[in-house]
Each structure stands twice: as C-alpha cells, then as structure tokens.
Symmetry: C2
Subunit: 452 residues, 2 copies
C-alpha cells in the first residue's frame, strides 16, 4: 500500500532530546505525617526520578515548630517556622500538607500568584476555598492539583477533568473515609466502637483526635471537593446532611448482614442534571453523608477496612446501557498520600512548559448550590418486642413507610423500608416513640444501581 | 499574614484568552459499528464540544465498501474506499476503528509520520505493533492513544502513563472481555453456552463471529496491550497460555458458587520485578488467559455481565500496606468505545501545542519478554463417583496436589487445589485418567490478594 501514499507529506522525525536532568526545587508546607512521608519518598525514589530526568530537591519546609522532634527525616536546615523565609526560597513547585484552612489558604494563594504550581492533600482547604484558588491559578497560568485530597490512592480526579465524556455523570456514591470504614468493618466483626477506635489509633489508622472522621466532616469535605472539581458545583458543607458514626453497635452490623448487606460510611450526591461548563446555575443537589446500609450487590459493599471506593453513576441516554465507573483503592495513609502528591508534582512539572487547560470544569462561580435531602430507602433499628413486628409494620405503612425486610433479636427490630425523605422518617419515628415508647435509629440505605 | 509576603514577586494575571472556536478536521478509518457510533456521537455532542471551543468536523471516512448499507449516519460524501483519497484530506486527528492489523498498521504509520495524532480502538493492532507505532509517534512528536482498546469504558491507561508511582505495580488481573463475561454470567444462571451465545448475538453483545471472544484471543491481545503500555513489555500473544471458554457447563458454575466463588474470563500477569523505563531486559512474565475460578472476596468476582474490571496489585515495600487499585466499568459496546475515542481525541487536540512526554513508559524495545506459566491454585472438574472422593484426594496428594475444597454431584467431583504448575496438573490428570478412567477439566483459580 505504501506506493499509494506518496501524496501524504511525510515530515522528518524530530531529533530526540538529550536526557537532560532537570532540577526541581520543592517547597513543602507542613512536615507532619504526610510531609515527612513525602520527604522520605523523595529520598527513596531519588534514583527512580533521576532516571526520568528529574532531580527532586526539597529546598524548604514550613512548619509550626522547628523544635518538635521528627524522625530525623527533614534535615534541620530545611525547616523554618517563618513564612517569609519559606517564600524567599525560590521553588519550582509547592507541596501543601499543612492541613486546615489558614495559613494554607494565604500561602497557597501567594504561591499561585507567583505562578508556582501547588499540589495539595488538604481537603478542608479545597472544600472551602478550592474554587477561588483554582480561579486564581488559572488567571496566573498555573494549576492547583488535588488528587491527594480525596480517595488519595486512586488517581482519577485529574483524569476526569481532562476527559469530557468520561467526566459526565449523574450521581456519585463513595466510601471516602478509610478510618470510619475500618471502624465499621471491625464493628461488623463484633468489635465495639470504642475498642475498635483504640485499636485503630494504636495501628496508626486513626488520628489521636478522630473527631473529623467520626463526625462525617472529613467525608463531607471530600464530597464537596469532588463536586467542585468534577461538576463545577460549590456546596456548603455546613448545609449538608451529615450523620456521625456514633450510636452504631455490632448488632446493627450483624442485622445488616442478615438482611443482605453491610454498613458503610457513605458520601452520596445526585445531580439534578449533568454538569456542564456553561451551566453555572446553582441547581439543587441531593446529598447526604453518614453510615448507610449498602446491599451486597452494590460495588461499595466490597470496599473493606481502610479502602475507599467511588461509584460514578452515568445516565444511559438513547437506550444505551448504563456505563457506571467504579474506582477502589487505598483511601489514605501517609505513604499513599505522599506518593499521590509526588505523582501530582511530576504532572505539574510536565505541565510547566505547555498550555493545557487546567480542567474541562471551570471553577464554580456564584452562590453555592442548593442542597436537598434525597429520598432513599431506610435501615431502621427500633427498640421493640419482636412479637409486635406486624403491628409496627402496619403502623409504618399507615405513615407511608413500607417494610422491605426485617430482622428481630431480643428487644430490637431492624427494618429495611421503601424510599422516603428524612423528614418523613423522623416524623414516623416521633409518632412511634409516642405510640409505643419505641426508640428509633434511622440509617439511610442505598439501592443496587442499574447496570451493577 | 499578607504583609509578610512582600518579597514574593507577584506576577500579573495572564489575560484570559477569548473563547475561540477551533475547527478539528477528523479522519475516520472504518465506519463499522464503532465508526458509526463515533459519527453519531460527534453529531449528538456537537453543541457540547462547541461550548468547549471545539468544532468537530469529520471530513473523511475510509471504508472497505462504500455501497454497504449504513444507518444513514455517515453522509455518503464522507465515505471513500480509496486510501489515497482519504490521506489527501487534511486531517488534524485520525480515529482508527478499522480493526485488524492491515491496512490499519500502514495507514496509522503514515498518519503518525505526518505528525497527525491517532486514537484507536484496535487492540489487535496495538498488541502486535503498538511498540513500533508508539516509537514512530514519539520520533515525530505526536502520539498514539489507545484508551478505547482495552477496558474501553474506564479511562486509566493514559493516566497511569502520566503518573510514575501510581503506574508501578507487580501484577495485573483483569476481566477484559465483556462478551465472554456475559456468557459466563448467563451460564451461572443455568443457561447453556450455545443458547447464551445466541441470546448474546440477538442482543448485539456478541459479534456474528464470536471466535476471538470465545477463544480468549481478544483478552490475550488486551493483556499484551496493557503490558506494553503500562510496563514497557512486549509479549507474543501466540506464546501466551490461552484457554477457550469451550467445555464449560452451567453445573461447573454452580459448583464454583458452592465452593465460594465464581468463574470469570480472566487475563492475568505477574511481573518478576516492577517495570522501570531503564529496564528493557526481557524478564520473564508469568501470565495466563482463560476461564478461571475467582473466590468471592476477590474484586473481580463482582464484575458481572458485560462489565470489565482490572485489579493492579502493588507490592507493599517497607512494611507499608498494599495499595491495590481496582477499576470497574463497561468493557465495550460501540457507544462506550466511541465516547472513549472522542475523549482521546479531545486530549490529542489539547496536546497539539505542548511538549508533554508521551508516556513515562517508553515503547518496548528488543525481543519479546519470556513468558512462563504461573503456579496457581486450580479448580478441577473430574468425572468420578463421589464415593471415591477420599481416594481421589489421596491420589492427587500423592502427586503433590492438595485438595482445599470439594463439591460432588452425581458422577462429577469438583475440587479446589493448592498451587501447582499447569504441567503438574496435566500430568496428574493424565495419571488419573489412566488409573481411574477419569476425565479432568482443569481451570486455574485466583486467590484473594493481600490487601483486598
């Protein structure tokens, strides 16, 4: 065939570039667990990156207290508690692992204004100020990468930002907090919440102060981050329905198993319409965060222990089959987070000389999206005599809540119900408490999505 | 804090570019199912891409026979059977959906030499000639994208190529062929292979000629593609251990279920050491393709019907926990493949003006990797009297194959065994046939990986 092809103008091969080693001066904001793991990783993978033409050179690390004992990893000369001194060090890229909103926000903003790309593992910062910082980065021709801030072990955020059709979905359902998933996994094995938490802290898989994990706040911030980066939607985490892990007992997890499911710390959002870059109206988003009954056929049921998982539900237009995407992998841990930060750093350095758009999804503008509580099935625990189950079911049905399955033991009954709003479930719970002195614990339940 | 920051030289925001609409002239190689779906998608998503600054303009489609009836989608003026005429149309990007090796290889090579980026859904082409074509693309400063050629509905190949640490793994285990997974799912529901195949053909989820799916060749080519793109390893698919679906019966799937697992069309490879761009030696790769027992705790057990799944197993160096990655989503289908081609096209167009390296993994060089058959557990079906189970187990144990579970029905026994090589299992099968006139069907079995 090649004789046929003469009209195609063949261009000469480009001369291959010599394998220059490029020095990358790295500024590190924070040298706690993640920051130290990052420095260790830079040292361990030094040769690996040199072979790829990159000489990783940490030049400065801003910490709150330079005298705090650290495992010998950051050379003392690297450390400074003085933001001024940190910012005077010329950096090619900044890794933000301080956590919290300030001073991260101010420091990151200054770096971006100086056209220094920033990679961050800080979900609180991105959930609250990611939109303004991304807009700032874009205005100054640089970029804020956040892959390490949610489902840290699975790279997908930057990829979906770069692929318009794959990045289009109608709902997301995730297990975004490894610590609380670990605790619920231990509960399902019969362990109580308090001893499971102590054990997790000993193993280093729960923070000394685990309140952000237990309260659901960590998951809520990650959900806000994902909606911001993948759908151009800003949500106010304070307005989200967020339920804590508290009050769950091993027998709840056993009942869930007998009803064909598990309990997972879920973070879910349904979009009223597919996101679009030209669609900045604050459409209502239905969302919740909290422990949730997940039937065994649902992909999130397979996400055990410290793992994270994320299901992106896609509408099936034009009679096509649904094309859901599911990601599963380690959710956090200092080493995993550090590796993702270093991959983000690598991508930032590749970007430096090009003009790729930051994302197909522009930073959200305007007021936060309106949040609504979704109608879902429910998994209810009731203090009640199992002999009264029929009466209870009739009572619930009278209030529009239909039983779909039940399990009873001693003085407790667990029910799976039809879909209802939280308001309805709470009203029914109130009525039941008045009618039968019964105490009710309502957890939301997911359904096996179409196409799974 | 901002008063502290005066020494940081703040650079003025870059003026934001006007929203120019850029015309992209698309050449399409092939207008079969995928090609037609691609053209339909371009038309359906025209406004969506215009809002992102891209005017999709299919300008020519090379087909084998212009007179073949098509669903009215490609305007006849677009079609040509003349490669010369096709190549005369100036294209900005070429979408290859011809399938097969020639003339795809020649045409794609000519486009790449003319610095036209190519996106392809053609696993046969990439498995056999991807290395040479990628090297050609790199030499000419352009790129061959292959996201649509394996696990088409889940974007991960390009992403792992761009992320050095996430892209480092020690083994991969996949369900890469949706058609055969659909057939095995139907078998597990009691359907026979022949009727399941007819049904699949009626539903359009199996080709009129399904031999590449049933034989395992399609999976083998996809495995070769993944090893090439993600590990810089070339494998000769003819040298792979590939087993067909044939001979499986619904009762095998029922036995698997009773033994706590399922049967999946697997494609697996274990690397003897982590891939490295400076490591072009042809280390042995242990690999197999074929129907395989998968225990329920393994992520691939959850990959039903037409879905695909891919587990990347990561070593856990330095006492860290394993950080396996798992992807699940639609494996194929014309619409899914077309959407992935269009996302690849979008990425190709973004690339045009930049100098991002094609991949962290250079195209494989030198001879193909040496392939070895791995030692795995086995799922054996034996024609035998269940009363003789103890004798059979003793016989197998004498030959170094230890039973780990069994199920018996009528004149058949199913066994799960300890790890062994295929050679050993076949020798034992031979000995058993001679000693007891028993007939043996050996399927490989996977184990639940560490960290799952």
């Amino acid at each position: 065939m090649s004789t046929l092809l003469f009209p195609l103008r063949e261009k000469p091969p480009r001369p291959s570039a010599p394998p220059d080693i490029r020095k990358v001066r790295i500024g590190l904001l924070g040298a706690g667990g993640v920051g130290q793991a990052f420095l260790q990783l830079c040292r361990r993978e030094r040769e690996f990156f040199l072979r790829r033409g990159l000489d990783l050179q940490p030049v400065s690390a801003l910490v709150r207290d330079t005298s705090r004992p650290r495992q010998g990893m950051p050379p003392p000369a690297l450390l400074t508690a003085d933001p001024l001194r940190f910012l005077k060090c010329s950096c090619d890229v900044v890794v933000e692992a301080l956590g919290g909103v300030e001073p991260s926000r101010t420091l990151v903003a200054h770096c971006l204004k100086a056209r220094i790309p920033v990679v961050t593992a800080n979900k609180s910062l991105v959930a609250a100020h990611g939109a303004e910082l991304s807009a700032l980065a874009q205005a100054h021709g640089t970029r804020l990468r956040v892959e390490a801030a949610a489902v840290a072990g699975v790279p997908f955020i930057g990829n979906l930002e770069a692929r318009p059709l794959a990045g289009r979905f109608s709902a997301l359902q995730g297990v975004l907090n490894g610590t609380s998933n670990y605790l619920l996994t231990r509960l399902s094995e019969g362990q109580g919440l308090e001893p499971a938490l102590s054990e997790a802290q000993e193993l280093g898989v729960a923070e000394p102060d685990p309140s952000n994990d237990l309260s659901g706040r960590d998951s809520a911030e990650k959900l806000a981050l994902l909606l911001q980066r993948l759908c151009s939607r800003q949500v106010d985490t304070a307005a989200l329905e967020v339920q804590p892990l508290a009050n769950l007992q091993p027998m709840d997890l056993q009942a869930a198993r007998l009803l064909g499911g598990v309990v997972r710390p879920a973070a879910c959002a349904w979009l009223s319409e597919p996101p679009s870059p030209c669609n900045h109206r604050a459409e209502a988003i239905q969302a919740f965060v909290g422990p949730c009954y997940v039937p065994n056929g649902h992909p999130l049921a397979q996400v055990h222990g410290l793992e994270n998982g994320l299901l992106l539900l896609k509408d099936a237009p034009h009679g096509q089959t649904a094309a859901n995407l599911f990601y599963q992998g380690p959710g956090a841990g200092c080493e995993v987070t550090a590796a993702t930060l270093l991959d983000d750093l690598w991508e930032s350095v590749q970007d430096a000389s090009d003009s790729r758009p930051a994302s197909q999804f522009p930073a959200p503008q305007g007021p936060p999206a309106t949040l609504q509580a979704p109608r879902t099935p429910w998994f209810l625990r009731l203090k009640a005599d199992p002999a009264e189950l029929d009466d209870i079911l009739a009572f619930l049905a009278d209030h529009g809540l239909h039983g779909r399955g039940s399990h009873a033991a001693a003085d407790t009954v667990w029910l799976l119900t039809s879909r209802a709003s939280r308001a309805r479930v709470e009203a029914v719970g109130q009525a039941l408490a008045e009618a039968a002195q019964s105490d009710i614990l309502p957890l939301r339940a997911l359904e096996v999505p179409h196409g799974c």
